[in-house]
């Protein structure tokens, strides 16, 4: 029961985070700035502070995170 509640809470949190259009645009812009194909970020999950896993419309997935003051985009 508790596990189900926690899972539901986490899922709801992730769903809420993935619904922020500004964050999606920000991630799409960052990916584009790095010259990587994406087009549009359709969803994303927050993996940590300044650490995202973005899923693009063309099915590409990228981990976008900040390391040593630099934004890094890694294809997954």
């Amino acid at each position: 029961m508790r596990i189900a509640l926690v899972a539901a809470t986490l899922a709801a949190t992730a769903a809420f985070a993935a619904a922020d259009p500004k964050q999606k645009q920000d991630l799409a812009a960052v990916i584009a700035l790095q010259g990587k194909p994406c087009g549009e970020v359709v969803s994303y999950t927050v993996q940590g502070e300044n650490d995202f896993l973005a899923t693009c419309k063309d099915k590409n997935r990228y981990r976008v995170y900040v390391k040593d003051g630099r934004v890094v985009v890694e294809k997954k």
């Binding site: 920000d26 991630l27 960052v30 976008v64 003051g69 630099r70």
Partner: protein, 192 residues
């Protein structure tokens, strides 16, 4: 720090953009000349006036004698008055460094991650300019110009739909920014 530099460069663009006014001051002379041309008509006017005074001949003589001198002084004042009027529309609004820096920081047109990513790329480009000014070749200015144009294009593409005014000001400052980056003295001055 490098972002500050670029912002400073953008701001400097405003200072550098000030020079255009002198250029715009060149056009005024033509306006003055044009103003001088219309002046002649008033002269014929007095000639036309005499016909009216036909009723009172004596008065016109005295008036005619005074009219020429009066007409001459009238023309000069008109010319100077028109010059400033012509200069006003031509003068571009000066770009203030502080306000431009604030606008870039505060604009909601660019997300936080995007701003940081742009800063990274600006830092990289400024680093290449440092290498250039240190005397190393590659990179030459010919190599750096496309990179500069591409980065500026990225910034403009991010701004143009959501912050048109800022995009326009940056675009207007393009040559001035390049001038700062490419000129050794200006680069050292603004990167320190």
């Amino acid at each position: 720090m490098d972002i500050r530099f670029v912002i400073a460069a953008l701001g400097l663009a405003g200072c550098t953009a000030t020079p255009p006014p002198p250029v715009t001051q060149a056009p005024p002379p033509p306006t003055v000349a044009i103003a001088a041309e219309p002046a002649p008509p008033p002269l014929p006017a007095p000639a036309a006036a005499p016909p009216k005074p036909e009723v009172a001949p004596p008065a016109p003589k005295a008036t005619v004698g005074n009219t020429p001198p009066a007409a001459a002084p009238k023309a000069p004042p008109k010319a100077p008055a028109q010059t400033p009027v012509a200069a006003k529309p031509a003068a571009p609004p000066p770009l203030d460094l502080t306000s431009l820096e604030k606008r870039l920081k505060d604009t909601s047109a660019i997300g936080v991650l995007t701003k940081l990513s742009l800063k990274n790329q600006v830092d990289d480009l400024v680093g290449r300019f440092k290498t250039f000014h240190a005397g190393q070749r590659p990179p030459t200015l010919t190599d750096l110009r496309p990179a500069f144009d591409l980065l500026l294009m990225k910034v403009l593409s991010l701004l143009q739909d959501k912050d048109e005014a800022l995009a326009r000001d940056i675009d207007t400052s393009r040559d001035a920014i390049w001038g700062v980056l490419a000129d050794h003295e200006k680069f050292v001055k603004y990167s320190s």
